[in-house]
Symmetry: C2
Subunit: 468 residues, 2 copies
């Protein structure tokens, strides 16, 4: 007795997949993922209609999804992040229903609480045995942590593991175990390793980015939080990552041993672990192959589920213990609200991921961004889309000054005392506008194409269609 | 923010523990456990009444439970195994309600399906941080796997971790994580390491036991199952354990690499892992400190939950992939039914543990037992208590012959061809009776003191009171 099924189609039939159902995917294979496309292609061949795609993130590699929307195979999308062709088409109104955007912590909460129902979950499994024991650290498509897939595996009606690396029973180590898996399908290739590593996970070489990173490290140094037990997360953007290269020497020099590095993990965080800057890494997603190798080999590099990472439905999650998070922004406003969903033309180009979760949890939430990009100022009067509420954001670091949320006067004082250039956020807006001019107010259509659900389930903002 | 609570009483109050509720315990600290007694003592001080104790096993160390039954603090017990003073008192009728006996696989199924409700679970935590991340491999009371506690932590209304080893956040590795834990209480001592290792986990030196073990190994050798990928579980009884010392050389000589060793894990199984007899160990409970050390250090020695071990409610569990299990018996009958609950006087002296689960799952279920003990034959016309149905038992190995279930004629043929002494089970009964005489039929009282629930939820048998 085992759970092997000959074809994906047979597994989908056995799982009882029908019109109108909800199917889920995790995004650890990132822009190298082949599973989502494979499943939707099969769904189209089966003549299925009106599916909801419940994906933790959607990348440019998923462009064929646009065709499946146009043909009615897919009529709804719920996700934490969306970029590339699908995001563009959605922005232009290809989907009738608005995309429901969640955060990486809000998604597992919605699933665990039953607000979101998944009928069939597809687990891209880099290593899997015939009973459905899965890990992400072995095989050609090794992507490391499978953190976002845990909620899907736990709560979906049926779970189908899709693997290109069938291993003897029992797979060891195990991330998602056989108690949760119904069917196992072997395919030629679940993903392209080159696509798993995205271009965003390299430290910037841009001098402006480096200046920002250096100042961000100084903010941390003088925040009062940099002491033994310090914990830290940084996004995968170039300037965010660059903070590590300024922070690590300070920690070494002061002999500070941090407790954990959190989040999507890069090789830069692995270096900090190996250098003794942290006792452990808590890893919900590996951003590069160095992180994958470390997760496989270093017992202090722990895989965590999205529930453990950031779910507000958990009895606690790691973000609740987080000291500092460094995040990016496409736009920020004078109330410290942050937009990571849409660009200056109103197109969807991303999503919360763990942005709003870590901002809510961390003691110090810092946005790093250049004063302007492509002649558009970072600080505006009102962001186009509120992704993360300003009440959870403490500091903005630009190359021309540092703005501190007025709710944190003590922090502002400490940074001034340390000689950092602390200015009102309005000053950063005005300074940028001297270079760029006052940006024109964005004109958008009247159709809601996206709803941004905050981690507590409330709708934070709506995204409107772009008129082409 | 953390989950530390000053006293156990405060944690129990915060958890809302009230009269009539159900509280749960796991038994990895075995006869060294202090947590169950500590909690019940506190419950008594709080004036609580009518509690249900939902414990994966109960040992002699839990003798104070008898007093709590007499005073009305505890009025119901549900467990998988019960020995010592509590078992004796229950047999004599101290509890008004029958004890509900389950198996180690049936228990998590009952909890996960909601048939059993746990209001407050107490997790004895050898290593725990202030947010409730727990492992069993570090600390003075390190007991290794916490496999039986997973269902409790996942499904209980409230979860209280009780530790004598508060470690910095985040504990690494983690067995049960912070997403599931409400409160953390630090106490002086959760358990006595000497009691964790029970006397049953040593290989027998008795020549009769060794003869049985040697023949059991020969049965495996000629069963057709001993090939690459072979999987194996043995109970912790001396003769069961001794099978490993005859099996390992055969595997090495034939160059056979097994897939996994399963179950409660002893140092003998660790030796087989280290010798290359198995690729991995799946460990729901460590029987000795060598197993604890191996689980801590060897990544191929995996901790598994009781759901993964044996739950019939899981989409699959490890017992479904098991080739051979060696088990003990206090009594067996001519229909191959096995009793591991009661002794010849009708006293409760144990319980199913994983007995009926592994018997149901394994391709070959073998009972090893001497022909008679203390002048009582092992084979009777009808067991006092059916713990494991005869339909799931294949072979009985005694020192005077091997009986094969008539449902397995091919196996009987293969063993005969190999020169083993295969005899009808009735012949073993008759042979024993020539030494012991026909045993007197047990006289018992009319009150039901225990119900044996099979892994599918059905009541297999009832246990009656012993009249003193």
């Amino acid at each position: 007795m085992n759970k092997l099924v000959k074809t994906l189609r047979e597994a989908m039939e056995l799982a009882g997949l029908k019109d109108g159902m909800s199917i889920s995917f995790h995004h650890h294979l990132r822009n190298g993922d082949r599973v989502l496309n494979m499943v939707l292609e099969t769904a189209a061949q089966m003549g299925l209609k009106d599916l909801t795609v419940q994906a933790s993130s959607i990348f440019d590699v998923h462009a064929p999804l646009v065709g499946h929307i146009q043909s009615g195979v897919v009529t709804a999308i719920e996700t934490d992040y969306m970029s590339g062709s699908v995001a563009r088409a959605v922005s232009e109104g290809v989907l009738k229903k608005p995309v429901r955007f969640r955060s990486h912590g809000g998604r597992p909460e919605a699933i665990a609480s039953g607000r979101v129902r998944i009928d069939v979950a597809f687990i891209a499994a880099p290593c899997c045995d015939a009973m459905g024991n899965i890990n992400g650290v072995e095989g050609r498509a090794a992507c490391g942590s499978l953190g976002y897939a845990f909620a899907d595996a736990l709560y979906a009606g049926k779970v189908i593991a899709v693997t290109d690396n069938l291993a003897p029973y029992p797979v060891s180590p195990v991330s998602i175990d056989e108690t949760l898996v119904d069917y196992v399908v072997v395919v030629d290739c679940i993903g392209d390793p080159a696509g798993i590593v995205s271009g965003t996970t390299r430290i910037t070489r841009d001098p402006v980015g480096l200046k920002i990173a250096r100042d961000a490290a100084r903010v941390i140094e003088h925040s009062g939080l940099l002491q033994d037990g310090f914990s830290f997360q940084t996004g995968a953007g170039g300037a965010s990552l660059a903070v590590t290269q300024y922070l690590a020497p300070v920690m070494r020099e002061k002999g500070i041993v941090g407790s954990f590095g959190l989040g999507g993990i890069t090789g830069y965080m692995v270096d900090m672990l190996n250098d003794g800057c942290f006792r452990s890494l808590l890893d919900v997603q590996c951003f590069d192959l160095k992180a994958v190798a470390s997760l496989r080999e270093n017992p202090n590099h722990q895989e965590i589920s999205a529930m453990r990472y950031a779910s507000p439905g958990s009895k606690s999650s790691a973000v609740d213990s987080l000291d500092v998070v460094i995040l990016g922004a496409t736009e920020m406003d004078v109330d410290f609200n942050v937009n990571v969903h849409t660009d200056s033309n109103g197109y969807i180009i991303g999503g919360s991921g763990g942005h709003s979760d870590t901002a809510a949890g961390a003691k110090l939430t810092m946005i790093v961004a250049p004063l302007f990009r492509a002649r558009l100022p970072i600080v505006t009067d009102r962001v186009t889309t509120v992704s993360t509420p300003g009440s959870t954001v403490d500091v903005l670091v630009t190359q021309r000054g540092i703005a501190v949320n007025p709710a944190k006067p003590q922090l502002a004082g400490a940074l001034k005392d340390a000689g950092l250039s602390v200015v009102p956020i309005e000053a950063l807006r005005d300074l940028a506008e001297r270079f760029t001019g006052k940006p024109e107010k964005l004109r958008h259509g009247n159709r809601v194409v996206g709803e941004v659900e905050y981690r507590d389930g409330r709708v934070l903002d709506r995204i409107y269609n772009v008129e082409g």
